[in-house]
Symmetry: C2
Subunit: 411 residues, 2 copies
């Protein structure tokens, strides 16, 4: 079964808004083995929407419209679908009552516009909306299924999950699509591809995609099978080879983020970490504390932007900064050891560098970053030279610091 | 002139990737007064792409294809465009030479696949690619312009800017579209709409869109004019009324972020800030240090996740934490005053709260956050109850802290 998604709404044709519902829907359809072949965005325009829907009916077995079900005159999906499928719109008493009740609870009364949401094309099933007033619609015409869903993601997702997935599953031909994502750190995208291309090239199923995402590389595998087990077996056959080829650069195969993996290892080994960061400005602490339960492994940190704060809060000697500069191996080491001791943590991270755009010199250019990791036995200091602009230098620095921590704690 | 954009590539039909090039292109086309009426995503499939292009030629005066110009067999845009426009593909010696030179610089030789990139449909102009091997294409057929651009955003944007904008400008009919964005903090979206709907409803030009974005609300105005001046005058006519109605909740009308505005005020008033944050985990420091030049106003901060760190680094009395709890008015106040004094800053921010998912109680539920702002005269403490999950509580807390700082420094 081939699907296509039509997102309706003029705001989706501005530079400011993306259709993101289609990503959610694609993931869910894929899980049933249904591939999405086309995605279209069209404005709140009767003729253009009708033409788009007609084209879709001619080529896809499943057509999903999102948006355009609201109570205003701009909302045309219901009327246009009725027109294209040549079915009269009939008022459904039960929907009308539900909308009246919902509005009454909010202290409002029914308007003529709200009433439009109670109209349903003849022969259509309507889909309950537990989070809003607009019901969805399910229609079948010859061998094509047409589904209309509301635009707000919360309403759309709840409705699709509860009412569409169970109806689609028996129709999906029994195919299943399963995915696996390997997250990789410490290798550039080209090197990842170089290592694994000979492995995945012979396979069309699973299909392999390599993406770069915020300083890490993701290898996505998608396998079709006649059952979940078969799809998973296909994933494992190729996936195990890929994981072996990438070795310990793979930090996750179950969706965990790098900070979640670091946190997991710290909890497992009953260790804690504290951070003294300059150029990353709190980003490493912020990433570690994104993890629910981070109070179990993260004690705290100092964002030491000024030299005085480095000295006063972390104990970096002022003479050391004067002699070597704030961006130097000794200062990174002193930050790591100082924050570890003062916070009473098992591990201390120290980060100092030049994020730019200004502050760089010929000797110490923008992108130069020193990262130190101290434990009770030793301190490792690494020097990096990250390319790109401020935000990228900060992001790469945070990845490198987390990766140094992952390797230390794991071993 | 109506435009449509066709993004080509099977990876754009997975749950993992979005077509983002169309947002860039829409912004640029809008600036010439050209509206985008359709956006389609289609996979690397000869028939589907051909059908999509044929439909586009029948309804739009400007059709832009993005992607599918690479050297692999999956890359079909060039061949399909030649076929649909019924033009033979001819090899262009100059492109061939340029690709050979480029590959030679990288130490590689020309493959048969690379050679495909030197093929151009008869009568097409080719567009130089300074950042990759794939040239773009510009074709005109009857009254329709068809442009093929490479998929990688860096290549696409440089090429469009250098070669397409100058060619499109004289064809755009002299209309200009100008936009203005008011960023609003401290009012919910519904209240913003309630205040300004009576102002913008009478206008179709400018068109008004209200978006919520990371704890702030954005009001986007788009005005068409026969000249830049006329479009800007239309923006100002409505914009000034909107700005007046929203008062000092508007913190930006030129694109600045909230942290940039806070930084600007601090520099103007020659003040500095330091931050002691618990539940936000470094997010406020990280946001302030995103601003280039933040070392001019941000001294540093402490991420005091554990109670010991609150006491040792910021001087919050352990008895105070024992008596009132870490999430309390006195502790927020002690954090703000302590970090201000110890860092030697003009202003100190203290943030303590329960981000969740665990840690909440009936008395102190998830989402309860205290934010304190201290200067040399007094300390203001505010209590918030933010809805939603961990990430949202942290994000809303950072917005509230920055907004308290903005108001204090401005006044």
């Amino acid at each position: 079964m081939d699907a296509e998604i039509i997102a309706v709404g003029s705001e989706l044709l501005t530079p400011f808004r993306q259709d993101t519902n289609s990503l959610y829907l694609t993931g869910k359809l894929n899980s049933l083995g249904i591939e999405v072949r086309f995605k279209t965005v069209v404005g709140d325009d009767r003729e253009r929407l009708a033409a788009t829907l007609r084209a879709a009916l001619g080529r896809s077995q499943l057509v999903i419209l999102t948006g355009g079900l609201g109570p205003t005159e701009d909302d045309l999906s219901r009327e246009v679908a009725a027109e294209v499928l040549e079915r009269p719109l009939l008022e459904v008493e039960e929907i009308r009552r539900r909308i009246e009740e919902r509005l009454a609870r909010l202290g409002r009364t029914m308007s003529a516009n709200n009433l439009r949401q109670a109209m349903v094309p003849e022969g259509a099933e309507w889909l309950t909306n537990d989070r809003g007033t607009a019901p969805g619609l399910w229609m079948e015409q010859q061998r094509t299924i047409v589904i209309l869903l509301p635009g707000p993601p919360g309403e759309l997702e709840a409705m699709f999950e509860a009412t569409c997935l169970p109806r689609l599953e028996p129709r999906s031909g029994g195919w299943r699509l399963r995915t696996r994502v390997y997250k990789v750190v410490g290798l550039p995208e080209s090197e990842v591809d170089h290592r694994i291309a000979p492995l995945y090239k012979p396979y069309t199923n699973p299909a392999t995609t390599i993406l770069s995402a915020l300083g890490t590389i993701e290898v996505h595998l998608r396998a079709h099978g006649s059952s979940d087990q078969q799809a998973v077996a296909l994933l494992s056959e190729l996936g195990d080879k890929i994981e072996f080829a990438l070795g310990d650069h793979v930090f996750s195969s179950r969706g965990e983020t790098l900070e979640e993996v670091v946190g997991m290892y710290l909890v497992m080994k009953q260790k804690t970490v504290a951070v003294a960061e300059s150029c990353t400005g709190g980003l490493v602490a912020e990433r570690l504390t994104r993890v629910p339960g981070s109070s179990g492994f993260f004690l705290g940190g100092v964002v030491c932007y000024s030299n005085e704060v480095k000295t006063r809060f972390v104990g970096v000697p002022a003479e050391m900064i004067a002699t070597h500069g704030a961006v130097s191996t000794p200062v990174a080491q002193a930050l790591a050891e100082g924050i570890r001791r003062r916070a009473g943590a098992s591990l201390g991270l120290g980060i100092t560098g030049i994020a730019g755009p200004s502050g760089g010199t010929a000797e110490k250019p923008v992108g130069l970053v020193f990262i130190a990791l101290a434990d009770d036995r030793s301190t490792e200091v690494r020097q990096f030279r990250f390319p790109g602009e401020r935000e990228r230098v900060r992001m790469w620095s945070s990845v490198a610091a987390l990766e140094m921590t992952r390797r230390r704690v794991r071993d």
